[in-house]
């Protein structure tokens, strides 16, 4: 069930009404049932898989907690992680690994018997596997006690607003909230609806419209050069952000309507002034997950610079692979790893130079940092979006082709009329992007909706009226796409 569908709207209204009618002690049953319906609307059979993950982690956490010996705790955790990541591997990476082995065998003229493995990718598997895994590790680390109530634990893994694309919630944040009594709170409900509004605006006004141009160019990338690739990459930069952060906002808003607070997943990341800062503001729930459960266990920054850089690079490489079973994602992760390592290695030198020329701490330095960071992030997205690694290399090497001719009016007009969007659609996307960028710029490092919430009533009315008019007049209601991150 897509957030941007009529069925979700009906589903959500029914669930919300029932939620506030029912007594607190049975609300978890309603939410769990709703979450099952939400997931099964896509593929009923795969509920078994998520059910299995829930049972394994539920039992493992209790056994870890009850075991006295450290060794036994570790053994149970290892088995649990093997099952979690084994399932993830089979459903997400087996086909990819097989096709890689097949390609290598072909090159070496060897005969590899398995030509193709086509296994359906369960929606949200990477998200719920990570959430469940994080919980079990937290129990192992004695950070939290295991949840004894099976229904509540199942709901923690399956809570429908964040089930298929996050935020990947931490047990200590979400689990206690299922025990809290959420009363009907008009203020909170309106605030939740406003967050959903903002998410819908980003998804159906910007992301879905930009997707048309991006797909037109990237799906036959080798037919285009120069400005075509530049605009498509720029549009993808906003598409991926609006698609994913839009989802997170709708998830956060719908959870807030019901009385739950999910973590902020994006904090206006494109205004970051360094790659390090970008990752503090982009997909925060995943970045912090990797920090806590991969980077730190690898040694973090405790064992000298060389190991710190290695750990950083490995973490980003794994993060790339988490996104998808394709070499393009691995390269994307690797690129960000390199950006990070390079950034940290040269930090002192850069600061010294900035101080020498009097730029350190100035607005100009921040602006330069923003431009460079944004450029690097855009460059990374080429690898994320390209259909194949060779397409990505083609785009990267042809994106500035014929740069001098970009000033030619006729050439610009030819490009903007060949993107698959008509001129009015392009104008609408541009206007929406300006509105979003200004809103984020003035919000600093805080979510736009939180900042708007603090303004006076007139400001709020005008702001959400503009958002609503954009949605109504320019939202993509037909052929609206699924969220990109569903595939991860």
């Amino acid at each position: 069930m897509l957030f941007n569908s009529f069925s979700f709207l009906v589903f959500f209204i029914i669930v919300s009404v029932l939620y506030f009618i029912l007594p607190h002690k049975v609300r978890w049953i309603l939410l769990l049932t709703a979450s099952c319906i939400f997931y099964m609307a896509w593929n009923p059979a795969l509920i078994v898989l998520i059910g299995f993950t829930i049972i394994v982690n539920y039992i493992a956490a209790i056994r870890i907690y009850n075991s006295r010996r450290k060794q036994r705790k570790r053994k149970i955790l290892t088995v649990c992680l093997l099952i979690n990541f084994g399932l993830l591997f089979v459903f997400k990476y087996l086909g990819f690994m097989n096709s890689t082995v097949l390609a290598i065998a072909d090159k070496l003229n060897l005969n590899w018997p398995v030509k193709a493995i086509n296994i359906i990718l369960p929606m949200g598997i990477s998200f719920y596997t990570f959430q469940a895994t994080g919980y079990t590790i937290d129990v192992y680390r004695n950070k939290i006690k295991p949840e004894k109530h099976f229904g509540i634990y199942a709901l923690f893994v399956m809570f429908f607003p964040q089930l298929v694309a996050g935020p990947i919630e931490r047990s200590e944040n979400l689990l206690p909230q299922f025990y809290e009594k959420h009363r009907f709170d008009f203020k909170r409900i309106i605030s939740g609806i406003r967050i959903m509004f903002w998410g819908f605006f980003k998804k159906i006004v910007i992301a879905d419209r930009a997707a048309v141009a991006v797909n037109t160019i990237y799906n036959s990338a080798s037919s285009y050069k120069g400005l075509y690739l530049f605009i498509a990459t720029l549009l993808f930069t906003f598409q991926i952000y609006c698609d994913f952060s839009g989802y997170s906002d709708i998830a956060k808003g719908s959870a807030r309507v019901l009385g739950f607070d999910l973590m902020d997943n994006f904090l206006n990341p494109y205004f970051s002034t360094s790659i390090k800062e970008f990752w503090r503001r982009w997909h925060i729930s995943l970045s912090t997950w990797f920090m806590d459960y991969v980077y730190i266990p690898l040694g973090g920054n405790r064992e000298g610079n060389a190991k710190k850089y290695r750990n950083l690079f490995v973490t980003f490489l794994v993060s790339g692979l988490w996104h998808g079973a394709n070499w393009t994602y691995v390269i994307w992760g690797g690129l960000h790893g390199i950006f990070q390592v390079f950034g940290q290695m040269t930090l002192n030198i850069r600061n010294k130079i900035k101080k020498k020329i009097g730029l350190y701490g100035t607005k100009l330095a921040s602006f330069c940092g923003f431009v460079i960071t944004f450029g690097l992030v855009c460059f990374g997205w080429i690898f994320f979006r390209a259909n194949t690694a060779s397409d990505a290399v083609y785009v990267a090497s042809n994106i500035l082709y014929g740069f001098r001719g970009w000033y030619d009016k006729q050439y610009i007009y030819e490009v903007i009329t060949s993107l698959g969007l008509n001129l009015y659609e392009l104008a609408v996307v541009s206007a929406a992007l300006v509105f979003m960028a200004l809103s984020e710029l003035f919000s600093g490092k805080r979510p736009v909706y939180d900042v708007v919430e603090e303004k006076n009533a007139v400001f709020r009315i005008i702001f959400y009226l503009i958002t609503a008019v954009f949605i109504l007049s320019a939202g993509v209601f037909y052929e609206s796409g699924a969220f990109i991150y569903f595939q991860f």
Binding site: S220, Y413, L423, Y424, V428, I461, L465, L472, Y478
Partner: protein
């Protein structure tokens, strides 16, 4: 004290929400008017409009045969190729992406003024496997005269979510408005800056000819041979028709039976290079032949005929899925003979 403060704060918020709703409704009304006005000026499918304008001008009960279906119908059957041999008056009534729910209501519209002896329903797998498609419904509505047929169509065919969207005029007319405005912006830019849109690479001409047929002599571009070929990735092995479309094919058959009309099902040919992608076409063909068998209708599949008899070459296609006029002539000639040999309406003894 706290309660009082909370009440006042909730009251303020309620007032804010009410003001927002009023302002939004006002904006809604303005957008609705603007979009509806643009939609009334914007013609999305000019050829389809000409096709139907011509049809509605025909005297009552003057048409003997109608061709209905998707672009595969109007890019394959030129009524004149049939009328010149059979001595009939036939009409091409295909609409873009026409699905079988639409074909059914289209036939109802036809039967209000005409009583054809034969209906040629074009059968295409890509139109058979969808539950509902909005764009093609809009193309049909653009040329539909009878409001009652439209209401019935919406009531019976539209899924509930589409009904809701359709009832919201800014959503319904958005594409029309955008297309209209884009056209205006384009004209402004072109006149102000002296620029022009890149001319579509075409090696031929296209224009509305007569009896619903659009002439086209373009030859398939090289790019559609492989990289942008729409059938790339479709091998046919998993293809299944959708129940809704099957239901409407049955209803078309019943409607024909009730009105004593002979029904023929035909699959138009796609380019030979496209067929190379559909390695399991037999599976697709068998399922379509079964559909025809279930309603007891005669069926001819020109992809099979073409592969067996080599009727068509690449230069007979305008793109990867549609014939150009040279191909139309070849297929129509074959089809006339087939109609004479296989139908009661135009069987040898009944040729007009």
């Amino acid at each position: 004290m706290n309660r009082e403060r909370s009440f006042i704060s909730n009251f303020k918020l309620l007032a804010e929400v009410i003001i927002f709703i009023i302002a939004f409704l006002f904006a809604y009304k303005c957008i609705e008017n603007k979009y509806a006005e643009a939609a009334s000026k914007n013609v999305v499918n000019a050829y389809t409009k000409s096709r139907y304008d011509g049809f509605y001008e025909q005297p009552e009960n003057s048409i003997d045969m109608v061709f209905i279906g998707s672009s595969h119908s109007y890019c394959t059957f030129d009524p004149e190729n049939f009328d010149s041999v059979l001595g009939t008056n036939s009409w091409q009534l295909g609409t873009p992406l026409q699905h079988y729910d639409t074909s059914y209501f289209l036939l109802k519209e036809v039967l209000k003024t005409q009583k054809p002896k034969l209906v040629v329903l074009e059968l295409y797998w890509d139109m058979l496997d969808d539950k509902f498609e909005m764009k093609q419904a809009n193309s049909f509505f653009e040329v539909l005269n009878d409001d009652n047929v439209k209401k019935e169509y919406i009531k019976e065919v539209f899924p509930i979510n589409e009904k809701v969207k359709y009832s919201i005029l800014p959503i319904r007319y958005q594409q029309d408005y955008f297309a209209y405005e884009a056209d205006e912006i384009g004209k402004n830019i072109e006149s102000r800056y002296g620029v022009s849109k890149p001319k579509a690479e075409t090696n031929g001409t296209e224009y509305y000819l007569a009896k619903g047929y659009t002439y086209c002599d373009t030859v398939i571009p090289d790019s559609e041979l492989d990289e942008t070929n729409q059938f790339n990735g479709f091998d046919g092995s998993d293809w299944e028709p959708d129940d809704t479309q099957l239901k409407y094919i049955n209803k078309i058959a019943e409607l024909c039976k009730e009105n004593d009309i002979e029904l023929v099902l035909v699959t138009a040919p796609i380019a030979n290079v496209s067929m190379d992608y559909i390695t399991d076409y037999n599976s697709v063909h068998d399922k379509m032949a079964e559909i025809a068998g279930n309603i007891d209708a005669k069926y001819i599949d020109f992809n099979i005929i073409n592969s067996e008899e080599g009727l068509l070459k690449l230069e007979n296609f305008r793109d990867d899925a549609h014939l150009n006029d040279s191909g139309v002539k070849i297929v129509d000639k074959y089809f006339v003979d087939w109609l004479v040999n296989n139908t009661e309406a135009f069987g040898k003894n009944n040729v007009m």
